[in-house]
């Protein structure tokens, strides 16, 4: 399959999936719709995260900040602007913050970047909760008039489709290739004439815009918003986990992982939240250790390789424990002495 065929295949799959998601509310129960909504939220968040952070290998932990900025915009402006105005404003504000943040920190690589974005996200959270407490005199805000479930669902669906479609489309443009080049070897990309600073800031802003829009749309699901729910760092962590477990470099990995995780979350989280989080931790560790390319890199050969690995491990243990190894060693030593 050449590149054009792949593009058509991806777009067709996306079209089919979005049609299916569009038809879902008419048939499914309220619980299933709410589960699908969470699922779509993580699809949008982790696809957009993977588009920038997966390809360029800049590990950003600031998603919760952008999500929170969007959510807080809704909390403050919902009465005054139209629904789409609120979402556009949320996405716009998040983009603005991302551009400023990106200009300040995108020259740092690796762990420095990850830690710094996490620090910035926490700084924004603490600053807003301090501002609310001391200037506005509230600890949170109540959302009185919220739009219908259908509107929210369609908005989040639109954002998710947008995120996946853009990440399919942009991947093939100069911009996407430049991001990939930065991930491979940033200095070489620079030497070949890529304006790395501009490309990185643009990619970071794209991630932030989607996260801000999703935050603005999802905020109305909580009727009460305070900085600690809106800027919950767990949303950011889970986005990163989903993208990594699914395979951050791919288009479909984050989507598959988002579906798996939402189902897991909704079934386990209410009954046994601690077990859910422990499962998450174990899955993450196992995935990093044994499947570094993510779920999307899972092939028939992977299972075969695991099977062979475990068999050769077991063979080596048996050789050791049965005493054969010690005997062979002794024999070799005796032969050496005889040879003298």
């Amino acid at each position: 399959m050449n590149s054009r065929n792949l593009l058509w295949r991806d777009l067709l799959v996306l079209f089919g999936l979005s049609g299916w998601a569009l038809a879902l509310p008419a048939h499914a129960s309220e619980f299933a719709v709410s589960m699908a909504l969470t699922c779509l939220m993580y699809v949008a968040l982790s696809s957009s995260w993977g588009f920038f952070c997966g390809t360029s290998r800049y590990l950003s932990l600031a998603t919760s900040a952008f999500f929170g900025i969007g959510a807080y915009t809704t909390a403050v402006m919902l009465g005054e602007l139209s629904w789409f105005g609120v979402i556009a404003l949320g996405a716009g504000l998040a983009t603005l913050v991302a551009v400023v943040m990106g200009l300040a920190v995108l020259h740092l690589r690796g762990t420095y970047f990850a830690v710094l974005t996490f620090g910035m996200a926490e700084l924004i959270r603490h600053a807003i909760s301090y501002f609310e407490k001391s200037v506005s005199g509230t600890v949170g805000r109540v959302l009185a008039t919220v739009p219908e479930m259908g509107t929210i669902y369609h908005t989040v669906l639109l954002l998710a489709v947008l995120a996946v479609a853009l990440s399919i489309g942009l991947r093939r443009t100069r911009f996407g290739l430049a991001l990939l080049g930065i991930g491979g070897d940033e200095q070489r990309a620079q030497t070949l004439g890529v304006n790395t600073r501009l490309v990185k800031v643009a990619g970071f802003a794209f991630t932030a815009a989607i996260a801000g829009g999703v935050g603005a749309a999802m905020a109305v699901r909580w009727t009460y918003i305070d900085p600690h729910t809106a800027f919950n760092p767990f949303i950011g962590f889970q986005t990163v986990l989903i993208a990594l477990i699914g395979g951050a470099m791919t288009v479909w990995g984050p989507l598959i992982a988002a579906i798996v995780f939402s189902v897991l979350a909704e079934t386990l989280r209410l009954q046994a939240p601690q077990i859910y989080m422990m499962t998450l931790g174990i899955l993450l560790i196992l995935c990093v250790l044994y499947l570094p390319g993510g779920l999307a890199s899972l092939r028939w050969q992977t299972f075969k390789a695991w099977w062979q690995d475990s068999r050769s491990w077991w063979k080596a243990r048996r050789y050791e424990w049965s005493g054969d190894k010690a005997r062979d060693k002794r024999k070799a030593r005796e032969n050496r002495i005889v040879g003298l």
Partner: protein, 291 residues
Amino acid sequence: MSFSAWLELLASGLITGGIYALVALGLNLQYGLMRILNIAHGEFLMVGAYLTWMVQTQFGLSPLWMIPLSFALLMLLGLAIHWLCFRRLTATSPNLDVFEARGLMVAFGLMFLIQNAVSAIWGGELRGYDYMTDPVAMGGAQFAANKLLVFFMALLFSLALMVLLRKTLLGKGVRALMQSPAGAQLVGINTRTLHPLMFGIGLGLSGLAGCLLSMAYTISPAMGEPYTVTALIVITLGGFGSMGGALAGGLLLGVIEAIGMHFTNPSLKALLSYVVFIGVLLFRPKGLFAK
């Protein structure tokens, strides 16, 4: 402000700073030597605190006995974790950048796992016990005896670690590995024994810090995260990999927080430490004391 009030303020800053330094030293050892940014470091501190609390309330044993015990237990746990996770990670990662990113992810997984395992076993509520709560007067100011003890212990163990690194052959090997991994291996320093050992000692130190903390403060499953963040701030202040820098940075951050909180407002504490953190990372990414 009178002299004794200043003294009290400075001393309370130094007391929290001593704990910060001890936690940061363990993290710094792991990051400086192996490039493992152990986000779960605070969780191991919490495990140490819970172990001490459990032994103290169940068997009535003095928490002082738990200092060597929690160090040893956490060190064993560290060896096991290194053997299970990081050994394979080192073997499969193509280069150090990839190893660093993957190590960070494994540490995130460990953080979720341990924090929730502890809250599943012991529940989420605040816990604590009384130990040496009488105040002690010193130079016109009053301090709680347990906090003073915690401070001196933290300082003692931090200095002990630094002496170990500076004076012994083992420490020489560790410092050589920090300066140049390839060069150290060429002169015959074995990373296969030194890496797990130092990872274990790092976790042991965090267990020890948790044991000390439980003497003076209440404990909960969520207590670890703020300490991880503070330790990160401290090692950026002092410079990644620098032990003396981490000690000085820890004490400095404690004093900055105490003075800042006194003159502004206690709810600004977290905000203040993040401002210091981001300021240092942006303007002096090599640490405050780098030449």
